[in-house]
């Protein structure tokens, strides 16, 4: 039976925990709104880029000297997985989900006899995967201490991927990240980057009129600058979704924590009052029985 003092101490500590989680929830909610609007603002560019790429890619993909970024190296041996997670924790199952998904993918690819390399973006994913696959990790990127994610950050990741491709370090590349579906659901997904999936190139060509673009300079030259750009955009989009998802998940986790703390406080208070009453009753009995004995 804990003493009254112990109970008081516990109630106070749970109360301050609740204060912290509540504050974190508010902060996450505010940041979530900002992250969501940033993700929305990035959408038009990505959409238009996709449209342009569809019409360009269709006309170049068939040629034998198509750029590597579009068609890959022609082999399928070494896979690079770019795993995007948050830099911080306290967000429920957010980071673990991606980690688990990545682990399953690594295992599956290895079972097919492929070599897997991992480029981890975000501190938490690196920590998670390092335990199990220390030799797979070829690089870590973290945006710790940055106020907001800018396009330059995505560019940095994309440049890294391009450099690795040019050095022949991998044949295919995919992104693994948490897709932001709603504030309460984020789904760990894999998205193929290299070879680039051509978005509805065929249906556009079937429309006829759409495919008749003139190019200045030549297609290949435009494509050579467009593809790295597209890569950066895809990474940027994933980073923003990851960011929004993180705050959504954190908001949820903190909401739950606040509620749990509230329940805990109620239970402890009940316990505290009971103990206090029991003590009083005990003292009364002692006094009365003492008086009777006289």
């Amino acid at each position: 039976m804990p003493s009254l003092k112990d109970l008081r101490g516990r109630i106070n500590s749970v109360k301050s925990t609740r204060k912290i989680t509540q504050a974190m929830k508010m902060v996450a909610a505010a940041k979530l709104r900002r992250a969501q609007s940033q993700a929305e603002q990035a959408r038009p560019y990505a959409e238009r880029m996709e449209r342009m790429l569809a019409s360009l890619g269709a006309s170049v993909a068939g040629s034998p000297d198509a750029p590597k970024l579009l068609v890959g190296t022609g082999q399928d041996k070494v896979h690079l997985l770019v795993v995007i997670t948050a830099d911080r924790g306290l967000a429920g199952p957010f980071n673990t989900n991606v980690g688990r998904f990545a682990r399953a993918r690594i295992r599956a690819l290895e079972a097919e006899g492929k070599t897997v390399k991992v480029l981890s973006v975000g501190r938490k994913g690196a920590a998670y995967l390092k335990r199990e696959f220390p030799r797979h990790i070829v690089g870590e990127i973290s945006f710790m201490g940055k106020k907001r994610i800018g396009f330059e950050d995505a560019q940095e990741v994309a440049d890294r991927i391009t450099a690795m491709l040019e050095a022949g370090e991998f044949d295919a590349c995919s992104l693994i990240y948490n897709r932001f579906q709603s504030v309460i659901t984020q789904i760990a997904t894999e998205q193929r980057l290299i070879p680039a999936p051509l978005p509805e190139a065929k249906s556009e060509a079937a429309n006829g009129a759409q495919a008749l673009y003139e190019y200045e300079p030549a297609e290949e030259q435009i494509l050579a600058t467009l593809l790295p750009r597209n890569l950066a955009i895809q990474v940027y989009r994933a980073l923003l979704e990851n960011n929004a998802g993180f705050y959504g998940s954190q908001m949820n986790a903190m909401d739950n924590a606040t509620r749990n703390a509230g329940e805990m406080i109620n239970k402890l208070t009940l316990n505290y009052n009971r103990t206090r009453q029991a003590n009083i009753t005990k003292e009364l009995i002692e006094i009365i029985s003492g008086a009777e004995a006289v």
Partner: protein
């Protein structure tokens, strides 16, 4: 007068989307005026200023640091790497950028052709930025 939809987007946001009479784009192979009913084209852009004309008057001047444009008879979409209204450009930033690009170019002299060209393009874009800043 006939108009067409001009859209200007940077990776971070949609900057402009409205019907205009004419737009002059800094295409990679020379300035290019776009009027309604232009033949479908995809062009690469270099660093330079986009001039927007409405009702016979220049209403907007924006600096882009490079990018692409997709032109169809009804629409012109500019995907800019970075876009700023000319009025809010500053000489100091432009000069800093030129210095940076010059250093990068000197460092790239031993690199393969493509890298050198990319560095050159950055330098030219920075110079165009300074010019635009001075003109404003």
């Amino acid at each position: 007068m006939a108009t067409f939809q001009l859209e200007l987007v940077s990776p971070e946001k949609l900057l402009l989307s409205r019907p205009v009479d004419m737009a002059v784009l800094p295409a990679a192979e020379g300035e290019m005026g776009v009027l309604p009913g232009h033949a479908p084209m995809i062009v690469a852009l270099r660093g330079g200023t986009i001039t927007v004309t409405e009702n016979g008057q220049v209403t907007d001047r924006l600096f882009v640091a490079g990018g692409f444009a997709e032109i169809t008879p009804e629409r012109c979409t500019v995907l800019a790497d970075e876009a700023t209204p000319v009025a809010s450009l500053s000489r100091a930033t432009a000069e800093a950028r030129i210095r940076e690009a010059e250093a990068a170019y000197t460092a790239a002299t031993t690199e393969p052709e493509e890298k050198r060209e990319a560095a050159m393009a950055r330098l030219l874009s920075a110079r165009a930025m300074l010019q635009a800043a001075e003109a404003a």
